[in-house]
């Protein structure tokens, strides 16, 4: 298994990039079937490697697995260090899965103005950046992967987006860049604060456990990396890029943005900010908790006011990520488990919702709830049912994946690993109010879109129901939502050991 262990992660991460080059160089043709086929083949191969890794993975240990450590830039002691543990494995798999499904979806649907080769090449490049971020164990490498997603996403929104795409694209780029460059300064400061100087995440974690950085330095560095991660999550009040980017992005772009890009921020907190800067994390935790709770309530209220279906789902992401951040802020094993689970569930559910909205828009040519006019269950029963099902999962119905992330997060706020117990219990109450509001806007949306009678104008329109390609892309997600809802242990057991090791720095 030696060769396999060494190569699995690297192959899965870089196969899509290789595919991107092939697709970009392929001969242009009318439909670009070859390019679309290659996109499916390369993302599929990456996913196959990812699935094979699931079987080779040792679930009973907190150790990093499939590790590779080689020299990369000796001039700054930055290495090519990758590997997966129970925390990164689910996110890594999620990014491979969603990319593959997006490739399948793109077999039929390439948004205006076409140019499938460019679109698919960027999508595959994006996959390399996303998957790489979750396996990088060196801060410099992490940063390079982290930033690699910006350019493809900028073009995706800017070229293939809807109405206000140029504004949304540049806003997305500038916001996230501004956050992440401060994060980079934080990383460099970590390097110099450590003795011996290192960018290796595992080495820095070990250092934090035995002899952590001075508190002042931790607070300063935390501020830098917090900006990077918080913009990406996005936490309130850094979220303003999100509604624009998600709304204007093409379907596949929104799916990947909501499904994976946001998780990079949450993952950054779990992997880097908390374990390497434990004292700062403890100091900042209440504030993060407060911001997270504001996000939950604010997003729910904002959703109630939306008229555009896609924008509504975009805002709901802010709320769901609020639950994730609340879980992280408790610094407890349950909280972080809740955060991880919440991220996976949100990736499946919101990814699915954006797929559906894309399909609805393709058929109805509008995303305005009022113009859709209800009665979708009568016209396109499968599509409407799938939409309602996913929306209810998003609401957090027990038995579906959305439930566990939220409930565990609220549960962890009852018994946080930080001192401000009273504060967190208050936050729990507000979070609970948030869930009620969430149920309100979701049910109201389903009522307005799927139920009711068909408007006169739509009576005689012929609208196709879910196509075969769409079923192919969606069934795995729908199945995932049900399975994770019934057996949450699939994620929590995988991550348990690693999270236990991670939070040990907080119980001193």
């Amino acid at each position: 298994m030696g060769g396999w262990d060494q190569w699995a992660v690297t192959l899965a991460v870089f196969l899509p990039a290789v595919g991107a080059i092939f697709i970009a160089l392929s001969r242009p043709s009318e439909e670009d079937r070859l390019a679309r086929g290659m996109a499916i083949a390369f993302t599929g191969a990456a996913l196959a490697i990812g699935i094979a890794m699931l079987f080779g993975f040792d679930y009973g240990t907190r150790q990093m697995q499939f590790q590779v450590v080689t020299r990369w830039i000796p001039a700054v002691h930055a290495g090519y260090h990758v590997g997966v543990d129970g925390i990164s494995l689910p996110l890594f798999e999620l990014s491979l899965l969603l990319s593959f499904l997006c490739a399948i979806y793109s077999w039929r649907v390439i948004p205006n103005p076409g140019k499938a080769r460019g679109f698919l090449a960027l999508m595959l490049l994006l996959e390399t950046g996303m998957a790489g971020t979750f396996v990088a164990l060196d801060l410099v490498l992490f940063f390079v992967f982290w930033e690699t997603v910006l350019i493809p996403m900028y073009f995706m929104i800017g070229i293939w987006g809807s109405g206000n795409r140029q504004y949304a694209a540049i806003k997305f780029f500038l916001y996230t860049l501004l956050g992440s460059v401060f994060m980079l300064l934080g990383f460099i400061a970590m390097y110099f604060a450590a003795t011996p100087h290192t960018f290796d995440i595992l080495a820095l974690q070990r250092m934090a456990a035995t002899n952590p950085f001075a508190r002042d330095i931790q607070l300063l560095i935390f501020a830098g990396v917090f900006l990077g991660f918080a913009v990406k999550v996005p936490m309130w009040p850094f979220h303003t890029w999100l509604p624009d980017a998600h709304t204007e992005a093409p379907t596949v772009g929104s799916v990947l943005l909501a499904g994976i890009l946001l998780k990079m921020g949450g993952y950054g907190f779990i992997r880097i900010a908390l374990p390497i800067l434990p004292d700062a994390a403890r100091t900042w935790a209440p504030w993060i908790g407060i911001l997270a709770t504001i996000a939950i309530v604010y997003a729910a209220l904002a959703c109630l006011a939306q008229r555009d279906l896609k924008r509504l789902i975009a805002f709901s992401s802010v709320g769901h990520m609020g639950f994730v951040m609340l879980g992280i802020a408790t610094l407890s094993p349950i909280g972080i488990n809740a955060a991880l689970f919440g991220m996976i569930a949100h990736g499946l559910i919101t990814g699915m919702l954006f797929f559906e909205i894309g399909s609805i828009y393709d058929r109805y040519h509008t995303r305005q709830i009022a113009e859709l006019g209800g009665g979708m269950l009568l016209k396109v029963p499968y599509l409407a049912f799938v939409f309602a099902f996913t929306a209810i999962a998003s609401m957090g119905l027990p038995g579906l994946a959305g439930f566990w992330g939220e409930v565990l997060s609220l549960f962890s706020a009852y018994q946080p690993a930080v001192q401000n117990v009273a504060l967190f219990r208050t936050l729990m109450v507000f979070g609970g109010i948030g869930t009620v509001l969430t149920a309100g806007y979701i049910l109201w949306t389903i009522q307005r879109v799927a139920m009711g009678t068909l408007p006169e104008a739509r009576q005689h329109e012929s609208i196709l129901d879910v196509s075969r390609t769409e079923w192919l892309a969606w069934v795995p997600l729908l199945a995932g939502v049900v399975i994770l809802g019934l057996i949450p242990g699939l994620v929590t057991h995988t991550a348990n050991e690693a999270i236990g090791a991670l939070v040990r720095v907080f119980v001193r």
Binding site: W72, I73, P74, A75, V76, V140, F143, V144, E147, T148, L150, I151, Y154, F155, G158, I159, R165, Q166, A169, I170, F173, L174, L177, L178, V181, F182, L184, L185, I188, A189, Y191, F192
Partner: protein
């Protein structure tokens, strides 16, 4: 030394000098339709000088009593300048033939300037620095004014000339004061003297300031920057490429030796001045670049901002030996990466100038469909100038950040300022990218043919930018070889 005069050490310079004389001479006898022969001759000379420089790698030769040194630092930059010369020559070729220029004189002047760049890399003496600096600048005045019929070109030359003369006068005054105070023009000798009581006299500090002013002009740093936009815009586009890469790099090559070698003992005095220079230069360059509609003007302001980044490490000097080394190396690396990237971008601009002589940002509209490969090259170079991974430009910035944070204190704040600046710069770099891809264009799409030389340069630069971006060690191992710092 056993040999009375080490000819091998100055072989590249001799080759280049011989070439430029041949060019001037041959030009006299060429009929008008064959004047372009000057270019292949010049190119051959640059290649020969390049090969000659490669034979000097790893040597340490000292001529004229130490005022002219050929070490790794010198060879690294000579190679850089020779490659730049080849690139600029390639870009000039078609441009000059189609533009009815005096080709023989043009290539002669261009090679003169490059000769100055090369001697600058070896100069370790105030006089040598001064001569090199003038040798770089003086032909530049004429080059900038080469488009005689165009009043903007005249303005370009005149502004360039006047400001250059002013700053040179100030610099020369400073140099003479330093000679008066220390009794030597040798950089190493000056360093020794300045470490003593002389170094803390007000006169010495004023003299240093005067010398810095001369170089600040050369690298287009605030407040000596305002010739750059007018000169770049008015000059023939390949000359703008030359000014923004070779001429600027030459300024930094000299400045590095001067500050990190001769004036290092007084670093506590001048480092804060550089901090201010750097801040003003980068903010001014970036904020004004936001307003530009003409691409060459925008690139001029961009190159001012880039100079601001390169000045930052100077502000870190004098703290500790390791920080000095890191700062010195980061400037060297930044110059190399900047040269590759900027030449790539200018190659595209030169290529575009035939189709759209006005070179407005709007002229780039639809380039993504008219010439996708060229548009990708341009986008890659622009993203690299902004410093986004995985392009080379990111590593240039990364090493400056590293040095700044290692310095601590003010370094951290300077790094934060630079970070904000790179985000600002992204706005105008992406402005061109947006024009190339995001703006709708009129159907039918007119394909555009880019001259082969420009396309070749753009292609090589783009591949370079990406390869260095993914494997920065390729370039990053050079600067430490050069950071001798004279200790």
């Amino acid at each position: 030394m056993s040999v009375p005069f080490d000819l091998h050490a100055v072989l590249p310079e001799i080759i280049l000098a011989a070439t430029l004389l041949v060019v001037l001479f041959v030009d006299l006898f060429l009929p008008v339709e064959r004047k372009w022969w000057a270019m292949p001759i010049s190119f051959a000379g640059a290649v020969a000088a390049f090969i000659a420089s490669l034979t000097l790698i790893g040597s340490h030769r000292s001529l004229f009593g130490g005022s002219y040194v050929v070490d790794n630092y010198a060879v690294l930059f000579k190679v850089l300048f020779e490659i730049t010369a080849m690139v600029v020559l390639l870009l000039c070729f078609r441009f000059l033939r189609e533009g009815h220029y005096y080709q023989g004189e043009f290539y002669f002047l261009l090679l003169c300037s490059f000769l100055g760049c090369m001697t600058m890399a070896s100069a370790r003496d105030l006089l040598m620095l001064f001569i090199s600096l003038e040798l770089v600048s003086a032909p530049g005045f004429v080059l900038a004014g080469m488009r005689k019929g165009d009043p903007r070109s005249n303005e370009a030359a005149l502004k360039f000339f006047l400001i250059s003369v002013l700053s040179t006068a100030i610099m020369l005054y400073g140099m003479s004061l330093i000679y008066g105070l220390t009794g030597t023009t040798r950089l190493s000798g000056i360093a020794v003297k300045l470490a003593g009581p002389v170094g803390s006299t007000n006169l010495a500090l004023a003299a240093i300031l005067f010398v810095v002013a001369g170089f600040a002009f050369k690298v287009s740093a605030f407040p000596f920057q305002f010739w750059a936009p007018d000169t770049y815009e008015g000059a023939p586009v390949p000359v703008a490429a030359f000014l923004s890469v070779a001429s600027k790099a030459a300024g930094f090559v000299g400045l590095l030796q001067l500050m990190f070698h001769a004036f290092l003992p007084a670093a506590h005095f001048w480092a804060p001045i550089f901090a201010i220079l750097s801040l003003f230069t980068m903010f001014m360059g970036n904020l004004v670049a936001l307003q530009q509609r003409q691409v060459v003007r925008m690139m001029a302001y961009s190159s001012i901002a880039q100079a601001g980044y390169m000045l930052l490490p100077f502000a870190l000097a004098g703290y500790s030996l390791s920080v000095d080394k890191a700062a010195f190396s980061s400037v060297v690396l930044y110059i190399m990466i900047y040269a590759v990237t900027n030449l790539g971008a200018f190659a595209v601009i030169v290529g575009m100038s035939r189709d759209a002589p006005t070179l407005l940002i709007g002229d780039f509209a639809g380039l993504g469909q008219r010439a996708p490969a060229i548009a990708i090259a341009m986008a890659t170079c622009l993203v690299s100038l902004a410093g986004i991974p995985p392009t080379a430009g990111f590593w240039g910035k990364f090493f400056i950040f590293t040095a700044a944070i290692d310095r601590g204190g003010v370094g951290g704040w300077l790094a934060a300022a630079m970070v904000i600046n790179s985000v600002i710069s992204l706005v105008y770099y992406l402005g061109i990218v947006r024009s190339m891809w995001l703006e709708p264009i009129a159907e039918p799409v007119r394909p555009i043919r880019i001259p082969a030389g420009a396309a070749l340069v753009a292609g090589i630069a783009t591949v370079g930018v990406l390869v260095i971006g993914i494997y920065p060690q390729l370039f990053a191992h050079f600067p430490p070889l050069t950071a001798v710092l004279g200790r």
